[in-house]
Amino acid sequence: MDRLENVVRAIEFESPEKVPVYRLLLNPDNPWIESDFLENFYTTSRDWKPSREGEDEWGCKWDNLGGKTMGNVVIHPLSSWKKLEDYEFPDPYLEERFKDPISVSIGKARFKIPGARDQISKWAEDRYVLGNLGITLLQRLQFLRGADAILKDIYLETERAEELADKVTDFFLGIIEMWSSTGAHGVIAYDDFGTQEGLWLRPQMWREFFKSRYRRMIKAAHDRRMHFFLHSCGYIYNIIGDLIECGLDVLQLDQPELLGVNRLGKDFGGRICFFCVVDIQKTLQTGTRVEIEKAAKHMIEVLGSFDGGFMGRAYPQPEAIDLKPENVDAMCNAFRKYGKYPRKRV
């Protein structure tokens, strides 16, 4: 069974041979050499030039707090609704986004990696290709309007907020279509709906404002025979059932202990595939090798014992959160060691 088929079986609950593992290495010859996945990125339009340092293609100015983390947005291009009239949304349908080399920053180092299509032809082999949608809906709205402002808008300026959210959603629908043209097998949205304590907004408001938009994006991926993955940090327990209803295939969690691994397995095991790292705020950060191995094994047992349903992931920027390389090794080794499914022959 090749890596692609094994990943698809894990997602579809169809008896994979083993728990698939995602791992990105700083290896210029092939950063995906130890991975069952290749996660791919799109780049900016050729016509776009930042008007100030730290600006992204949407006009958001970032302060990256010394370069180790992604930082935060300090200037929001749509801080006033008046600016929306003249605002130009980026065009998702540019072939160059998937062709041109991509600028990457790791710490203070900046370098270029091959464009998406080149990466696929060079490194994909039989790997599962995952198209990165980038920072998706809620967070993109927060960056455009301001974190507090958009939350107020959803209650007080609903019509305008809906209009803006539709335009942002349209951008991502375009990116999904473009990923499909590259041959990607799935897409992943990055949208942190939760804080440490709960959702950014009431679950009912999430349902009214975000659910139908997620349903549209997920359907767009499914119509093109791709899976839809969602990365979401924080305590998002209250909307997992809604995400499953929308057709979400894979939930990527970096803080599984915050939500409770046993509870996730009891309430949602076998209904959605979990794609998790050992908790990056707790065990992976401070645990011993034995504790990390135990946590990895526990996730396989609780989330992956549904004839599939679990995939292991190494946090792709370990240096940004000071993860010890030996801890990441211990986790990946445990995923490989214990992540073997019942088999037809030995």
Binding site: H222, D249, S305, R345
Partner: protein
């Protein structure tokens, strides 16, 4: 949804019992595996082939499936188990094989 190698139909059933046969083998990493019989009640085809409809005569049919198990979590009951394509076709044709019978 995703077309990887082949999009072929695979039957699934719910595991209601697992019998250990006592036959054991070690793999290349030294893990000890035991040959087991999974008793399944067929429930349908996997979701990758959503248009496949299970023949009515197979609904609820009980089959026995050989698999090798190694870890505690392999013995979970009440969860689905997928037959391989050759096993699926054997069940549909009503022809038992070395790995699936009833």
């Amino acid at each position: 949804m995703v077309e990887s190698q082949q999009e072929v139909r695979k039957l699934q059933g719910v595991v209601f019992d697992i019998e250990k046969t006592g036959e054991k083998k070690k793999d290349e990493e030294g893990n000890l595996w035991e040959k087991c019989i999974f008793n399944l009640e067929l429930s349908g085809f996997s979701k990758r082939t959503p248009n496949e409809v299970m023949p009515p005569k197979l609904k609820g049919k009980k089959v026995r499936l050989f698999r090798w198990c190694c870890f505690d979590w392999h013995y979970r009951l009440g969860v689905k188990k997928t037959l391989e394509p050759d096993e699926t076709e054997a069940v549909i044709k009503g022809e038992p094989t070395a790995s699936v019978y009833w």
